[in-house]
């Protein structure tokens, strides 16, 4: 292998023969692998969304439809199950502010249970205590604070598209008591309200909530506990269906459609084109060098050696283009990850994609260079020298 390094200057020089052509070929391969890198980043990010969802968190919804409400009384019964660490009810509040297009995911919940269930949430201790103490207080995510310029202590008129208050108005006056961050990625675009404040203030369906979020102590027992919960409420007027947060995220992705297949199809089409481009370049290059190849053979380069040389050139082209493309994708991922972190946590090229890409690069180079290399190998010296 090290001995082969001595041939590198020769290979590189051959590529410099027609600089423009080599450049364009390398450039197209670069674009192809940039696409591949970005597609893999997208795939990874979408899958991360599922990963970030906890396997030790369950969601219990109304069995018929998630648009149906559940009794608040279920909370204590769920809490009593062995292995359950914390339970909080949640409801879709339908919050908006100023403009009805500014929809903000808002969830009335039980504060202490909520914080225990989502330990990845980071907020200062004093703010945390302030929020727990104030019934009309809200916990908001960093992006909400940045978006509207809210600060701790601000009272904001949050409006609900669904839930009017007892006095008929749909404006809920709440005070920002705490701002949270998600350092490991995730959606900070949400508001958490006190369930008690919500239940007392709303006009109808008191005592009813949307769904429960449950944290279990042992991931391995999650499924069993889920079944236990559903069994507890079977044959009641409000039957439940419990699944893990991760399973829900996955099935949500599935409902969107097979994005992975689409990405793969596109990338495959692009690679096929690259095969043609590189193959053509190598074929031309060999055709032009018939005489030179003859000379190399007279000097003692063997037929298999010439085959190897052409393949080497081909692989050199694809690897240079491919590596540059992948590095560019990596750079783009690093640049854009902070921006995309909200919607797509983890938008970057995973290491496995690099391994896959390298295999593709080498395979592409070998396949594209195969026919020209074969031709070069089979070239008879006497004929080759005769050609100009």
């Amino acid at each position: 292998m090290i001995a082969l390094a001595r041939y590198l200057p020769l290979l590189a020089a051959s590529l410099r023969r027609k600089r423009l052509r080599t450049f364009f070929t390398v450039a197209s391969i670069l674009v192809a692998f940039l696409l591949f890198g970005l597609a893999e980043s997208m795939r990874f990010a979408l899958q991360s969304g599922v990963e970030v969802a906890g396997a030790d968190r369950l969601m219990t919804m109304h069995k018929v439809s998630f648009t149906q409400l559940l009794p608040a009384s279920y909370e204590s019964r769920i809490k009593s199950i062995d292995g359950v660490v914390a339970v909080t009810p949640q409801t879709w509040f339908g919050g908006w502010f100023q403009d009805e297009r500014n929809q903000i995911p808002t969830f009335p919940s039980k504060p202490e249970a909520y914080l225990r269930i989502y330990p990845e949430i980071r907020l200062p201790e004093d703010q945390k205590q302030a929020w727990i103490a104030d019934r009309a207080g809200i916990l908001i995510g960093r992006s909400i604070a940045d978006l509207f310029g809210w600060k701790v202590g601000d009272t904001v008129p949050l409006r609900s598209a669904i839930w009017p208050r007892e006095d008929g108005s749909e404006t809920w006056d709440v005070t920002v008591r705490a701002i949270f961050d998600l350092p490991n990625g995730g959606d900070t675009r949400q508001i958490v309200m006190h369930q008690d404040y919500f239940d007392e203030g709303k006009q109808y369906t008191k005592g009813l909530i949307g769904w429960y979020v449950i944290k279990v102590a042992d991931v391995d027992r999650a499924q069993a506990i889920g079944r236990q919960i559903d069994a507890m409420f079977a044959n009641s007027p409000a039957e439940t269906k419990t699944s893990s947060e991760r399973a829900m995220a996955q099935s949500f992705m599935n409902q969107i459609g097979n994005i992975g297949a689409i990405l793969s199809a596109i990338v495959a089409a692009v690679f096929f084109t690259m095969l043609l481009v590189t193959g053509n370049t190598m074929a031309q290059s060999v055709r032009e060098r018939t005489n030179e190849i003859g000379v190399l053979k007279t000097l003692g380069f063997s037929n298999p050696g010439v085959l190897g040389m052409v393949l080497g050139e081909s692989v050199l082209v694809t690897v240079i283009g491919g590596m540059t493309g992948m590095l560019l994708a990596l750079w783009i991922g690093v640049q854009f990850e902070p921006v995309l972190k909200q919607y797509l946590p983890g938008f970057r090229v995973p290491p496995s994609a690099f391994v896959e890409a390298t295999l593709y690069m080498v395979a592409l180079g070998l396949v594209a260079g195969a026919a020209p290399a074969w031709q070069a190998m089979r070239l008879r010296i006497v004929e080759a020298l005769r050609r100009d």
Partner: protein
């Protein structure tokens, strides 16, 4: 009917050819380029091969150099029957024992002069330093050490040919085979090249076989062999 091989004045015959036949297929036709040639060439000799176009002189050169295989007959170089070697062995033998000099120089345009000269050494076990030393020596011998980093397009025809000679000798081969080495050069450059070849023969004892149609070049050789229609027709000293 071929002339009898001339005696080689006591020096060992480095090349021994007996009844060599070479046929080419051109479509349905079969052309016999060499018709049962027999010839001996002594070690350290400087031989010119002459003859009209189609006489087979280039073909003979190619066969001696192992670039092509005879249809029948025996071809022995330094006691080795090269007509019986496999493709791979022949290639290796050629790398070690033969240096070629072409009419059109045939340098790789993408490489500098010294990289061109280095090419045959890439096939050996020598490391970079050793290779560089040999390259430097070869270029010095042909008087082009100050042009080592130039590309072929920056050199004159004569200089290119001298680089070609340097490349041919860098492996210290047994045989130097030249196909019309001065064919593309002006008188002055051609003379320089021929002087160089003479020096290689006189001082370094290289056996040189040169195909040429230029009587002026043939004069420099020690022995002139004429070929006609695939057979030896004349053999002078």
């Amino acid at each position: 009917m071929s002339a009898q091989p001339a005696p080689v004045d006591g020096r060992p015959a480095i090349v021994r050819i007996r009844d060599l036949v070479k046929e080419y297929r051109r479509g349905a036709e079969v052309v016999r380029v060499l018709d049962g040639l027999s010839l001996d060439i002594a070690q350290g000799d400087f031989v010119a091969l002459m003859g009209p176009s189609g006489s087979g002189k280039s073909t003979l050169l190619n066969l001696i150099g192992g670039l092509d295989r005879p249809t029948s007959g025996s071809l022995e170089v330094e006691g080795l029957r090269i007509d019986q070697l496999t493709e791979g062995s022949l290639t290796r033998w050629r790398a070690d024992h033969v240096g070629f000099i072409f009419q059109m120089y045939n340098l790789l345009p993408v490489l500098t002069a010294e990289r061109n000269v280095e090419l045959p050494l890439l096939l050996t076990n020598l490391d970079r330093e050793q290779r560089q030393r040999r390259v430097d020596a070869a270029l010095k011998l042909v008087g082009l050490e100050h042009r080592a980093k130039h590309r072929p397009r920056e050199l004159s025809g004569g200089q290119e040919q001298r680089v070609g000679i340097a490349r041919a000798i860098v492996t210290d081969p047994t045989l130097l085979l030249c196909d019309e080495p001065t064919g593309d050069l002006d008188r002055k450059s051609g003379d320089e090249v021929l002087t160089l070849l003479e020096a290689l023969n006189d001082e370094y004892g290289k056996t040189i076989i040169m195909v040429t149609h230029d009587p002026h070049a043939a004069e420099r050789a020690h022995r002139v062999i004429h070929l006609d229609k695939g057979l030896l027709s004349e053999d002078r000293r």
